[in-house]
Amino acid sequence: MSDTPPVRRIAGPFNRIEGDLEILLDIAGDHVQEARVNATLFRGVERMLEGRAPMDALVIAPRICGICSVSQSRAAAAALAGLSQVQAPANGRIAANIILATENLADLITHFYLFFMPDFARPDYAHHRWHGAALRRFAAGRGQAVAAALRTRAELLHVMGILAGHWPHTLAIQPGGVSRGIDAEACQRLSGILASVRADLENNLFGVALETVVELADCATLHTWRQHGSASDFGLFLDIAETLELSTLGRAYDCFLTCGSWPGGRDPHNTTPLWPAGIVADGAVLPFAPQDIVEDHAFAHLRDHERVHPPAEGTTVPHLRDGTAYTWCKAPRLAGRPFETGAIARQLVRGQPLIRALVARGGGTVFSRVMARLIEMAALPLLMEQWVRQLEPGAPWYAPHGTLANGQSVGFTEAARGTLGHWLRVENGHIAGYQIIAPTTWNFSPRDAAGVPGPLERALEGAPVRPGEHTPLSVQHIVRSFDPCMACTVH
């Protein structure tokens, strides 16, 4: 790295992410030296919730974000359920899983085709042999694959029309299950939709059966598969990743966090998550200890920045502090350290062999983050197919939750982008406190009081900057590799 004094540049607006974002880059010659992430929009949803009837969280919370709306509903419902004795019946739990998985899968498709890949169709890459294909398939708003992905996504979201009324922003997810029961024929229609989504993914994205993708065990298998793989968007991505060395780009701390997904999993009478909770730090998989989470407002335009708080005691009072603060985003820390969350965390903790291998080899990078999402794009339809088969029309879908108690409760769920937590406090039958930590809050957190950068900030350090670049492509790839959602980040 060169020794030129760094130049500060403000990159933004970013798009093909959810919401608005700018990044302060200190560029030293041909690379980024330091980065500061600014979530430029404050929304204050936590404050709106205060004073309302607890159940109103089901209306307000999803509207934090239109892309992970169901995740918010799910976390809110879980928090509310924590204030009652209710046990959702099996159908209710499974249906909720299907609804959430539908959203997650739609998000994964949207991210890959609409947000992430179009960058490779940019003229900047015109000299690469894969550029023609990338242009044809991925050009923003025009590529064949973009149109096809939108079709697949729309078809997939018919699951919402059947199970959840509509998407985004359903009220179908309730503490006691779901608000809509369906009959056997509707189950068949769900199966039909999933079959057609699977066919699309197999024909366009992977070029092979989803089962094959799920079973990719290590880099060697991946390599072999590439040699023999038919033309597919996945193959094209692998080509691109290889030439652009995406597996060396955007490594952060290799600390990962997941609260676990799919409670009930395959077995409707078992509420432990199918993909377990856990953290990865210093190469080891450890238990996830929510009590070790705190929020730090040191560099956020918020009050109460003097000390860190556990979320249950957190506040969200905007307070411009120019000069110090540079974002609306809080800095969540677990056991004092920044953590990265998302598909890569889930697959690592779950022990998906290929992702473990990739991370073992090169850490969490642009490549391994996207690969983890691709693995999930193959895994989710398979799970959903099973769940649909486990539904039992005729059995109940909902159990009444009775009156909710006063008290504290937390609802966790894995959203597409990672671990989401809602910390709820009810007093006198009204919401007294509601604090949310969203996945991108973790990933795009600012520095903490100790000056430790957040995961993205860290990942950007050292990113190559080519001459004349204002919003360096490497920065864009790294930013988008986290699949950020700024609506969630600051809610």
């Binding site: 159940m55 239109g66 939108l150 029309g161 998407w167």
Partner: protein, 332 residues
């Protein structure tokens, strides 16, 4: 020449765009292409980031690039203290509020996509520390970010595609009509909403209609009965063709088993009672169907209740049909 749209997002959740991407029959890209519409820039669909976007905005403001419609998704944030600093457009250092105000002046039409952009919506929910508002309304009151007097170059007010989220067809339909010059002032209702969907009530086409007729009502989520009496449904008053047009291949709020919370209306975010509960006075729901005198409601509903067939009485509180309609062939 295509009809050029610039789409900006501010104080919202992005859900209106997410919904728009669900457009079908035909899909979004074909629909737009078919209607001769193109995006100058859209946050989810365009390639350009950063400087390129700033350059584009400058050209638009400079009149170098024609802006046929400015679409705004999300409420405008006027706080803190009228500075608009709660949302600075990334990379520009300038509040989105003033960007929008400036761009609205050069746009041929201004479209508020979603209830946030139209009236403030959820983002303006109390205590509204953001001082959020819509483009042309602040809740029920004309005004908002552009001021009550605002009219576009053709004399139209801001077109409020209200809804939270908006239905993809509401957006594509409005844009196509604008692109073909077929949306006039009389095609908007008194709240600036396109009448093609706002002249319909959500109650129209609700599959729970027969339960409604007999006031056979659901008591819990997943019950089949009408959601009006207990579950907070205001579909009889809500403007929107949700149960006619349907969502995501055949859904709607009431089909999904939950209340219509009137999301196309200004201030829907402040019903004054828990959303999914019907407020009553003397056992009579407070919000009565549009145009219905309370006396008639009382008379009709008590009568109806007295006549409720067992089928409806029982099915109303079940999650699947337990008493099917009789299947005698009709008498001739």
């Amino acid at each position: 020449m295509t009809f050029q749209i610039l789409w900006l997002q501010s104080g919202g959740c992005g859900g209106c765009t997410m919904s728009l991407l669900c457009a079908e029959s035909p899909g979004l890209l074909s629909t737009l292409r078919g209607a001769g519409i193109s995006f100058l820039w859209h946050p989810s669909l365009s390639e350009q980031s950063g400087d390129d976007v700033q350059a584009l905005l400058d050209s638009v403001l400079a009149g170098k690039v024609a802006l046929d419609a400015l679409c705004v998704e999300g409420a405008l944030l006027r706080g803190p203290e009228g500075t608009g600093r709660f949302h600075i457009m990334g990379g520009t250092g300038r509040p989105m509020l003033t960007w929008v105000q400036a761009l609205a002046r050069v746009a041929r039409h201004v479209v508020a996509v979603g209830s946030c952009a139209a009236y403030g919506g959820i983002t303006a929910a109390s205590p509204n520390i953001l001082d959020a508002c819509g483009l042309h309304y602040d809740g029920r009151y004309p005004g908002g970010a552009l001021g009550a007097e605002f009219r576009d170059h053709t004399g139209l007010p801001v077109i409020n595609i209200a809804g939270c989220p908006t239905h993809p067809d509401w957006v594509t339909g409005t844009l196509a009509l604008l692109a073909r010059g077929q949306l006039g002032a009389t095609d908007l209702d008194p709240l600036g909403r396109p009448r093609f969907y706002a002249d319909t009530l959500v109650h129209h086409g609700c599959t729970r209609n027969e339960f409604y007729e007999y006031k056979a009502s659901a008591r819990h989520p997943s019950d089949l009965g009408c959601l009006m009496e207990n579950m907070g449904c205001i579909g009889t008053q809500a403007h929107g063709d949700c149960n006619t047009r349907l969502w995501n291949g055949g859904g709607s709020c009431t089909r999904g088993g939950y209340a219509c919370i009137n999301c196309t209306a200004p201030e829907f975010e402040e019903p004054g009672h828990p959303f999914e509960t019907t407020p009553k006075i003397a056992g009579i729901p407070v919000g009565l169907p549009t145009d219905m005198p309370k006396a008639w409601y009382v008379a009709l509903s008590s009568l109806a209740r007295a006549a409720t067939p067992e089928r409806l009485a029982r099915n109303a509180t079940e999650d699947h049909i337990v008493v099917p309609p009789s299947s005698r062939p009709l008498r001739r």
